[in-house]
């Protein structure tokens, strides 16, 4: 098939000019795109308001698919339940026994904890979630791992707030629209989270690899103390997350740490809650000093790579104690 003859200019001056103008416009558009791209790589939050409006528009449709998704998961689970009901029942009964014992132990620990905190005069402010919403979508075509949340600045959500599911950490709010917000998932390769091992204080960073797994990098190099199956929880360094929330389980050991699997997978969650920044004053303090050119919270995307520096000092200090 030949292209339409109208697109061959021939001797017609008008056709030649319009063809030329087409090329000129397309070239100018490409240059404009390159400029905008450079601007948004330099200042990722520059177009956040535009994106916020766009995601507000998509969110209602996403809420529908989110409901369908959670519904269908329930169907599959109940079908699977019929096949292994008997053995599962016995297993669950045994687990329940153990859980009851552990619960009693936890009560004792809790009481002791309370007493010790009373001695130290620490006041544990139980933070209430700012909002509870569904994850309504994600950037499924891009190399970035962002998710869309069905609640925005109208519910009091601000950039930087941690997003948790009932199982553990999902990510951090990156941009907010009016009724939707964009969440940086832990698996994004720009996401860095200070963590520690749950049972002791081995401190590390959990970095997204971009392929659904986390790379755990130990702060103190030396003999690698990690073992497969270790649970990593947030250490609270950096001030965004409250300490002790489950993040990942080590799946493989590497020389400088390990490769870990997420505890809370965004695709398997139904509702997530957005919590206030755990130590908002400390975060503001940490983000303010560099030159003062970027106001705090204005550039959420470069924040994770820059956060290791202050967090590393606190992590190192904690490790030395």
């Amino acid at each position: 098939m030949a292209p339409p003859s109208s697109r061959r200019a021939g001797f017609s001056k008008k056709a030649q000019f319009s063809l030329f103008t087409g090329y000129l416009l397309a070239g100018a558009a490409a240059l404009l795109g390159a400029g905008l791209l450079a601007l948004s790589l330099w200042q990722p939050a520059a177009f956040a308001p535009l994106r916020g409006v766009a995601s507000d528009v998509v969110t209602p449709a996403g809420t529908g698919t989110a409901a369908v998704r959670s519904g269908s998961q329930g169907i599959f689970a109940s079908i699977a339940g019929y096949f292994n009901a008997g053995s599962q029942n016995a297993e669950l009964r045994r687990e329940n026994e153990i859980a009851r014992i552990r619960l009693a132990e936890a009560e004792a620990v809790k009481a002791e904890n309370l007493r010790l905190k009373g001695l130290l005069a620490l006041r544990d402010a139980e933070s209430k979630p700012v909002a509870t919403a569904r994850l309504v979508g994600s950037t499924a075509t891009s190399g970035r791992r962002h998710a869309y949340l069905g609640a925005g600045s109208a519910s009091g959500i601000k950039p930087g707030m941690p997003v948790l599911s009932e199982r553990g950490v999902i990510g951090r709010v990156l941009e907010t629209g009016r009724f939707s917000s964009r969440v940086l998932l832990l698996t994004d390769s720009e996401s860095v989270l200070p963590v520690r091992r749950a049972k002791d204080n081995v401190i590390a960073f959990a970095e997204g690899r971009g392929d659904g797994l986390l790379r755990i990098r130990l702060v103190n190099l030396g003999v690698n103390p990690l073992k497969v199956g270790d649970m990593m929880v947030t250490s609270g360094a950096g001030g965004y997350y409250r300490p002790g929330v489950a993040v990942a389980i080590i799946a493989r050991i590497t020389p400088d740490g390990g490769i870990a699997r997420l505890v809370a997978e965004p695709a398997a969650t139904n509702f997530v809650s957005v919590l206030p920044i755990h130590e908002a004053e400390a975060v503001a303090e940490l983000e303010a000093p560099p030159s003062g050119a970027a106001p705090p919270g204005a550039s959420p995307s470069p924040a994770p790579p820059s956060s290791p520096t202050p967090a590393a000092t606190t992590g190192g200090a904690a490790a030395e104690e």
Binding site: A30, L36, S142, R144, P266
Partner: protein, 184 residues
Amino acid sequence: MERLDPRARSDIYGLRINRAPDPWRVRSVPYASIMLASPLPVLLIADTMPLLPSFGFLMLLGWRMVRPGLLPLWAGAPLGAFDDLFSGQPFGSAILLWSLAMIAIEAIEARFPWRGFWQDWFTASVIAAVCWLASLVVSGASLTPEMLLVAAPQALASVLLYPMIARIVAGLDRFRLSRARRID
């Protein structure tokens, strides 16, 4: 005549007498379909890896290949700007890449004016693959080997989806040109 065969006086675009295509539909369907396809993959929760190719870009390629000359050369820029709002890429990446893709197709078409389905598929595949790699590079994330590995199915899917997209575009084109307006 109609009693014998109801479709006697019509072709694939509908009745031929005192009917004309709707001018609104003729102009808006390509843009509307591309702009509807852009936010479609957002509805999927992809927490571990990119799961789908950019439907908006595939639709653009489809319209450009199936109906050369319908979209102006600069159409990649506004449509790309719209796609950037949803795709999670830094704003401007699709404006740049889609514009370059349109220019590249134009250049290829000037070089090889006579072409068929297989050549179209080949061109679209090469351009989709180059755009896939380029959009990973400019995504703002540090490019890890693991990321490339998990994104590879996306490139494969965009190559394999082209024939389907071309059929969809052909169907939409038939809808676009169907004689919906009655001339009295």
